[in-house]
Symmetry: C2
Amino acid sequence: MANGTPERILLAHGGGGQLTNQLIRSHILPHLGNEALAPLGDSACLELGSASICFTTDSYVVKPLFFRGGDIGKLAVCGTINDLAVAGSRPLALTLSLIVEEGLEVHTLDRILESIGQTARQAGVSVVAGDTKTVERGSADGIFINTAGIGIRLPGVELGLDKFAVGDKVFINGTIGDHGLTIISQREGIRFESQLESDCAPLAGLTCMLLENVQGIRFMRDATRGGLAAVLNEMVEGSRLGIEIREADLPIKPVVQGAADVLGFDVLNVANEGKFVAVVAPEAAEKCLELCHAHELGRSARVIGEVVESRDLPLVELRTKIGGRRIVQMPYGRELPRIC
Amino acid sequence: MANGTPERILLAHGGGGQLTNQLIRSHILPHLGNEALAPLGDSACLELGSASICFTTDSYVVKPLFFRGGDIGKLAVCGTINDLAVAGSRPLALTLSLIVEEGLEVHTLDRILESIGQTARQAGVSVVAGDTKTVERGSADGIFINTAGIGIRLPGVELGLDKFAVGDKVFINGTIGDHGLTIISQREGIRFESQLESDCAPLAGLTCMLLENVQGIRFMRDATRGGLAAVLNEMVEGSRLGIEIREADLPIKPVVQGAADVLGFDVLNVANEGKFVAVVAPEAAEKCLELCHAHELGRSARVIGEVVESRDLPLVELRTKIGGRRIVQMPYGRELPRIC
């Protein structure tokens, strides 16, 4: 152990929690640090002449390749679109890079490519460049996909953790935990598997609509790896203010809560692929909710908490249903490998 | 077999030759086709307000991770920079996405990240966004890296296969085969290994200097997977004209030729990572060579052939040293797996 980092990479280094954070801060940023990378946002923002763009990337290693509600192809398109969307941009173009294991059925590849094409068309983005690599049998697991994306920043939209104020409302566009618990249940062959479905969806239609119609949206982030707990912790860390959420207001499907209880997961730590958290001015919350409720991907949107003064440290606190309080920690990261 | 495609993915599907082409045309384009993707260039070109940009991606799966003259990190930066450079742009920003196998030594990751940072700084590009995924032991091979990149198109530069004219000169900025034969020799533990070194280098400094100082550059492409043979075949296929090259003028280091002879490779089919082929107007060739020769990455630049009328089919022909002619075919793609 040096600087608290183990000597070998653990699965938890990719879990989106504490260890991922540590890896980025201790090993990646020192070599690559620059102004655009420093905010560690969902996308980098770049000014190119008169255009202001967002630029982002994600690799997808989800297992299994096909799951209820989606597949690795749909996920690879939605995930990158969502990173552009929550940065306040309208997604425009994606690149697509495939690493394929020798022996993958061409038919399987076709199904994935079809899903990529369909999801991209529905979301109004084009796949404009690509790459295909193959590796020997046993050197990868079926297929890994990378997408990078460019979005055009919406004019007049300024989002940032520095814009939070005490009293701001925290809302989410729907139920949490659906994606992660679908994947893990399918992998483990749990009996209620058939009642679970990933929420994998492209959020840009909804986020652009909100940003174009509501003043007072301060910040948005999609709640993927590490779940709601990770994104709220990243937000308080960046804003230096606290967040208090109410357990009673968290939208969780009973079947998801049931699966989490059986499998021993805290739903707060479980990945979503069609959910974003937004912090909005108090006077903007009502309109945001109204617009969300009229949109297919926001029907179960809810205000789940508020921005509060931070005491000693900026913390996320949960008010439990029975009136207690507990600190919501940044997950360690080992809960769910290969969830996206 | 359906449409001549095998039912399972072969290593050769990633070789950059005939099978890669077939996979792209029969399976990828039908699902994703659009105007920006259709030219299948090294980068897509997009107009964003007043900015004209290039956008590209590549994943890197090279084995071994470290080789004479570079490593997977340096390669991941150079390869994507070079795709932007030959499209006539000045590379600006990269994204970096890592897929890391559980158990990789953190020290190894650090060496790779250091190399990425160093190469990017030297080339004047920033890594602005990133992603890290982990997969279980045995589900990847150490580390795979994806970089995507954005470049700003140089004003007034118009490159295209449709700009070729009979009599145009074909030149290359230096010796061929160095990268591929370094990798394969190191993998096989061949005795002359120590005399070989990859040519892995960022070409944007040289290409931008040429494009800014010489009128009459019609087209450029880097000669990576599939080597000089693949790139020349792609060029004649796109231009509908022929290309004739002279064996006597091909710059090949004796040790590279020796290694190719021993290992049974045609140097024409072997990957380079610091070489580009350019087609230039006859009156521009002299100035291009002069500028190349004054640049570190162009000292061995040579005119190697000309654009010629195509007879029945657009073909690449080689005039051999002893005065014969042979057709240079698109390689099949199985020569060298995991070369980049």
